[in-house]
């Protein structure tokens, strides 16, 4: 599967393209920046650090679609960047940790979305929001570390 991805057309093109690679890299940063910003603001709202308690739902309603769209941009551009040298990235400890944290962050977000109605006590909501902030910042930091570790 790794060989197939390494031979994938867009990845091959990106590998030797002097301009497209930085462009996709910039898209990846844009997606991450928008997503993590929205996530931190939503987390802060749930934690009661930002806005009024009553405004929590409004903050989430406004920012969640933006975060999801930005996540799609980050994921697609990330897949493209990964396909340039899949074997190298899979062997990179920072990349592996990033994927693990990404899985946890997504699971945490899904759990919150599914159970955040009336089913979750306020303490739980705050706990999940705090965990969310830590996990996504961890994903961001490990992503930045990829180029510094091998």
């Amino acid at each position: 599967m790794i060989e197939a991805l390494a031979a994938w057309g867009p990845g091959v093109f990106l590998r030797t393209s002097v301009w497209l690679y930085p462009l996709v890299s910039a898209l990846h940063i844009l997606g991450i920046g928008m997503m993590v910003c929205c996530v931190l603001l939503m987390d802060a709202a749930v934690l009661g650090l930002w806005g009024r308690r009553a405004g929590q739902q409004a903050v989430i309603a406004a920012l969640r679609p933006v975060a999801v769209a930005a996540l799609v941009v980050a994921a697609l551009s990330g897949l493209l960047l990964f396909s340039v040298r899949p074997g190298e990235y899979l062997a990179n400890p920072a990349f592996r940790l990033k994927l693990a944290l990404l899985g946890l962050a997504l699971a945490n977000a899904l759990f919150f979305i599914v159970f955040s109605g009336k089913a979750l006590a306020d303490g739980w909501r705050r706990g999940l929001a705090g965990l969310s902030a830590l996990l996504w910042l961890g994903v961001l930091f490990c992503g930045r570390l990829i180029g510094f570790l091998d």
């Binding site: 590998r15 002097v18 650090l49 040298r85 910042l137 510094f148 570790l149």
Partner: protein, 128 residues
């Protein structure tokens, strides 16, 4: 209220310096003096984000990192410049951690041609 951000700020501040000294990016992970490596190319990657070679030196495989793709190409080095099995000389800076067989090349000599992938740094090479 503001104090609630403190744990987050502390976490960020503490985690930043964890970035290890060895790295692809920049030169902070390398030794200052030039280092010369001669061996046989085991594998070669000419592409983004960095051009790299794995070079066999008497049974030890060294990872030789060149410049990013654009400056490497600008130095004249392309996919056609070297192949697996070619003898190569790399002059550049060795990892400060001698436990890892890794260097960042400033100059590559292969198939009778010299490529200065970091031209400004290559000016300082004299009889290395």
């Amino acid at each position: 209220m503001r104090l609630k951000f403190l744990p987050l700020a502390i976490l960020l501040a503490v985690s930043l310096p964890i970035a290890p000294a060895y790295a692809h990016h920049g030169w902070s992970w390398t030794e200052t003096g030039f280092f010369r490596l001669e061996g046989i190319i085991k594998s070669i990657y000419v592409g983004n984000p960095h051009v790299t070679m794995d070079v066999d030196v008497e049974g030890t495989t060294w990872r030789v990192e060149l410049a990013p793709l654009a400056p490497t190409n600008a130095a004249g080095f392309t996919e056609a410049s070297a192949a697996i099995g070619d003898e190569v000389t790399a002059i550049g800076n060795r990892s400060a951690d001698h436990g890892e067989s890794r260097m960042k090349a400033v100059r590559i000599i292969v198939n009778g041609r010299t490529y200065d992938v970091y031209p400004d740094r290559a000016k300082a090479i004299e009889g290395v």
